[in-house]
């Protein structure tokens, strides 16, 4: 998906030229994350390039262009650089880079699409070759400086663990001693990256302790909500209860008279109270009397939305062809053995543990932002519009993110903080309540798929036709308007690119127009579409009278790399060898540049589901850090359990019915069964692991449930289909 997540942009510049530009910025220093180096630069430290500086005490300071939202990127990103430089990993410090519209910060854009964002599971896949070059360039500059100092040819020198060594004279020189000279060396035009065999920090099954964890267990890690700025005041927000609602009238007399209240600020479809302390703002918010004007969708309810899906699916209007190979429709029409089924995934909310928040100080010429964001450039663009300044005048200081899952790609909450800060003339920290966080979410929409297959005499499909009805999920972050009647490339993921060999295939997509804001959410289109295709594959296997694993083996006969993942997962899970009374389900996906197969093992206890084990095998091409890779898959499995078992947003009176974790249910600790995770490294290119983990859980679990009960579940979440786990007390 080349068009994803990228507003209009200037043409890409030469990477190595921009290294030099970035270096200037590093030496100059900036507020926030770079103070460390700026102070040190005066003492003799030097920036080698935009990403790499060496402090006077020998510490290597590495810029992380990506946001740390739990996926461990602040460790892995830095480790890739450190490995290529030949730095001493125990003496590396990671800082979060500035936002890429800031002066000299262009090198922090994702090099694939020239836009800085963290998402789409692509931090590693898009940055890996680039970071290796950055590190190699720094290493070659350090070696060139050492060659001058030692009076020997560069070819006789090697860099190792923070030093440059000359073997024959048994001399070595620390990076700190040659940093300034190295920074003055010309930037190599074609830096030579190390062969993989010489990776010393990442890869080769290594497990790297994450650098952010000690602060996180001490309660010392700074998330957006923890920011303290001198003179800061606090804002709480009440948005229109109905989606798209606007303010008709506000009576704020009682609120404005409350202790500590500084100002009541009108926002777009919301009212904020700014007070000296946060709870004062919350108390005053409760005293506001607001008349709301309903949104364009009016008081729609869930049944009306569902009816729109059904009407679109059954009608002729709005369809666009997303994929075609052979003549699936013709073969299906001529076939006497057609299987069809319809699947439905619900509306869901992001609901990261840290509610949306931002701290903004508006200055004479721009603004400073401290916020947990996935889209730093999006923040710059949005605040530039709000404050009528250039994007480069918006300084974004990135904090840790208490989860993101796609929600923090947007900057609507930052804009609210900026409007409040401008209104009161002081830095404002704005925090949404959990109810606001869910009510002002941009939801992942429900997906409705109708799948048809024609089976040949051998029981395998000769034609496959998928029809998908779903609103766009790409629109809020797309560079171009996503027009109705066209294809949203993210929404059809997993349908147009499933790995099975079927000679005739076709996918049609109908972009439903709904009065509800929609957005990417962890697993984008893959999650709902894999639930459909991999449940359906089991249904076909059942009709054909074949074992679901063996059936998939045949369908993957032309794709040995994917087949290897399937086989490894089946072997690791003990497919077909589960204890008596245990049942297994399997599903597989190719997505985010990786492959994943999962096997769920469960039993039924008194009519309730007891999960025993979930086995995951992924092939991301290369595993750079095994511990973190396992964490991504384990966490993904639990995310998958939430969406399979519990999570759903329904709408009543034009508003979401679920606005906190009492009704917006997510998986809790007893839900997590034994998790077994392993990796293959057969794929030719490196892929992502952050988004893929949940993808196969819904289908694998429902396939196991079918094996156990003979009942096929085609709608999620299961709690609303009357399926309970032994941990019970699940309600719809």
């Amino acid at each position: 998906m080349d068009a994803v997540l990228s507003p209009p942009r200037p043409s890409r510049r030469n990477v190595l030229k921009s290294l030099a530009a970035g270096a200037t910025v590093l030496v100059a220093g900036r507020a926030g994350t770079l103070e460390l180096l700026a102070q040190d630069a005066a003492a003799g430290g030097a920036a080698i390039n935009a990403y790499i500086a060496i402090a006077s005490d020998g510490h290597v300071i590495l810029q992380c262009a990506q946001s740390e939202m739990g996926q461990g990127i602040s460790t892995t990103f830095a480790a890739i650089l450190a490995d290529e430089i030949e730095a001493d990993w125990s003496k590396c410090t990671t800082v979060f880079s500035p936002a890429a519209f800031s002066p000299g910060a262009e090198p922090f854009r994702n090099p694939r699409i020239n836009w800085q964002f963290t998402g789409n599971s692509e931090s590693i896949s898009s940055f890996h070759p680039f970071l290796r070059k950055m590190g190699a360039a720094a290493r070659e500059m350090l070696i060139a400086a050492a060659a001058d100092r030692l009076g020997v040819p560069a070819a006789e020198l090697v860099a190792r663990s923070g030093t440059v060594r000359h073997a024959s004279s048994n001399r070595e020189i620390g990076f700190d001693e040659i940093a300034a000279a190295a920074a003055a060396k010309p930037v190599p035009s074609a830096p030579q990256v190390k062969p993989e065999s010489e990776w010393r920090i990442v890869g080769h099954g290594r497990a790297l302790p994450r650098t952010d964890i000690p602060a996180k267990v001490a309660g010392a890690a700074v998330f957006g909500i923890d920011i303290k700025v001198p003179g800061m005041v606090h804002a709480a927000v009440l948005s229109a209860p109905m989606i798209g609602g606007q303010i008709a009238a506000v009576d704020d007399a009682a609120a404005a008279a409350m202790a500590g209240v500084l100002k009541v600020v009108r926002l777009d479809g919301a009212v904020a109270v700014v007070a000296e302390h946060y709870w004062q703002a919350r108390l005053a918010l409760a005293k506001l009397k607001v008349d709301w004007q309903p949104g364009s969708g009016g008081a729609f309810d869930h049944a009306a939305i569902e009816a729109m899906y059904g009407k679109a699916m059954d009608g002729d209007a709005g369809w666009a062809e997303a994929e075609k190979q052979g003549d699936a429709v013709g073969v299906l029409a001529a076939s006497k053995r057609v299987i069809e089924a319809q699947y439905q995934s619900p509306w869901t909310a992001h609901a990261p543990m840290e509610p949306m928040n931002a701290t903004v100080e508006v200055t004479g010429e721009g603004a400073s932002v401290w916020a947990p964001v996935q889209g730093p450039q999006m923040v710059q663009i949005v605040l530039a519009q709000v404050l009528n300044v250039a994007p480069a005048k918006i300084t974004v200081n990135r904090t840790y993110l208490g989860g993101g899952f796609g929600r923090r790609l947007l900057a609507d909450f930052v804009a609210q903080a900026a409007i409040c800060a401008k209104a009161v003339g002081a830095p404002v920290k704005l925090i949404w309540s959990r109810e606001e966080d869910i009510r002002q979410d941009w939801y992942r929409p429900a997906f409705l798929q109708h799948l048809r297959a024609a089976l040949g005499p051998d029981g395998y499909p000769v034609a496959f036709h998928a029809k998908l009805v779903a609103p766009t999920i790409l629109s809020p972050v797309s560079p171009e308007p996503i027009k109705p009647g066209t294809v949203d490339g993210l929404a059809v993921e997993g349908l147009i690119d499933h790995p099975y060999s079927v000679p005739n295939r076709r996918t049609d997509y109908n972009m439903l127009q709904v009065p509800i804001p929609t957005m990417v959410l962890r697993t984008t289109g893959h999650g709902p579409n894999n639930f459909a295709t991999e449940s359906f594959t089991d249904e076909l296997a059942h009709v054909a009278g074949r074992d679901p694993y063996q059936y998939r083996r045949h369908l993957l006969r032309d794709d040995p790399t994917t087949l290897a993942v399937l086989d490894r997962a089946a072997a690791l899970a003990g497919w077909g060898k589960a204890p008596s009374g245990h049942f297994q389900g399997i599903a597989i996906v190719n997505g985010f540049g990786s492959c994943l197969c999962q096997v769920v093992e469960l039993s039924m206890v008194g009519g309730a589901v007891k999960l025993h084990k979930i086995t995951s095998v992924a092939d991301p091409g290369r595993v750079l850090d095994r511990t973190n890779a396992i964490s991504m898959i384990e966490g993904g499995v639990v995310w998958g359990l939430s969406v399979t078992l519990y999570s759903a947003i329904a709408f009543e009176h034009g508003r979401p019915r679920e606005t906190n974790f009492d009704r917006y249910r997510v998986a809790t600790l007893p839900d997590a069964p034994e998790l077994v995770t392993d990796f293959l490294e057969n794929r030719k290119t490196i892929g992502g692991l952050g988004e893929i983990g949940p993808v196969c859980v819904p289908a694998a679990l429902c396939n196991a449930l079918f094996a156990a009960t003979g009942k096929r579940y085609r709608r999620l979440p299961l709690a609303r289909e009357g399926v309970f786990t032994v941990y019970g007390k699940i309600y719809g």
Partner: protein, 152 residues
């Protein structure tokens, strides 16, 4: 507004706030201890878990007027330098992902281990009801067993 006195992480603390102010916001906003997190405001997720008189409470729904004269421990006071056996187990098992819920998880686990030094899996499942959206539950279980000395 009213004055409230209590013991916070071993030292006396005094605040002058509205009596309905949740302990969470007193800690975060008035006393500058931001290790305790806001997640739901309704005692549903446990991100705000602290100890009051040794027991785990959800401080987002625990008003300051209930804390008068009490002893409060937050993640910052659990150990001097994050070196408690529970926090060490959390590091050893690489539990946190985003980490936002983990101070509350650790405080809940500390209260469990204080009450039951060798908890069973059923004990853990019954008492650790906090929410983690990153899904670190499997490692949380391992880390609690490790901290209890019953690691497997």
């Amino acid at each position: 507004m009213a004055k409230f006195n209590f013991t916070l992480n071993g030292a006396p603390a005094e605040v002058d706030v509205d009596p309905s102010t949740p302990l969470l916001w007193v800690l975060r906003d008035h006393l500058g201890l931001t290790g305790t997190k806001f997640g739901c405001g309704a005692a549903l997720c446990g991100a705000c878990t602290v100890h009051v008189n040794g027991g785990a409470v959800r401080s987002c729904a625990y008003t300051i007027d209930s804390v008068q004269g009490a002893t409060v421990t937050t993640i910052e006071g659990l150990s001097k330098d994050g070196a408690s056996r529970i926090q060490q187990a959390w590091i050893e098992h690489q539990v946190p992902q985003c980490g936002y819920c983990q101070p509350g998880m650790i405080m809940a686990a500390a209260a469990l281990l204080a009450a039951k030094p060798k908890p069973s899996l059923a004990d853990i499942e019954a008492s650790i009801t906090n929410i983690c959206r990153c899904g670190t539950y499997a490692r949380i279980k391992q880390a609690i067993f490790a901290a209890a000395g019953t690691g497997r």
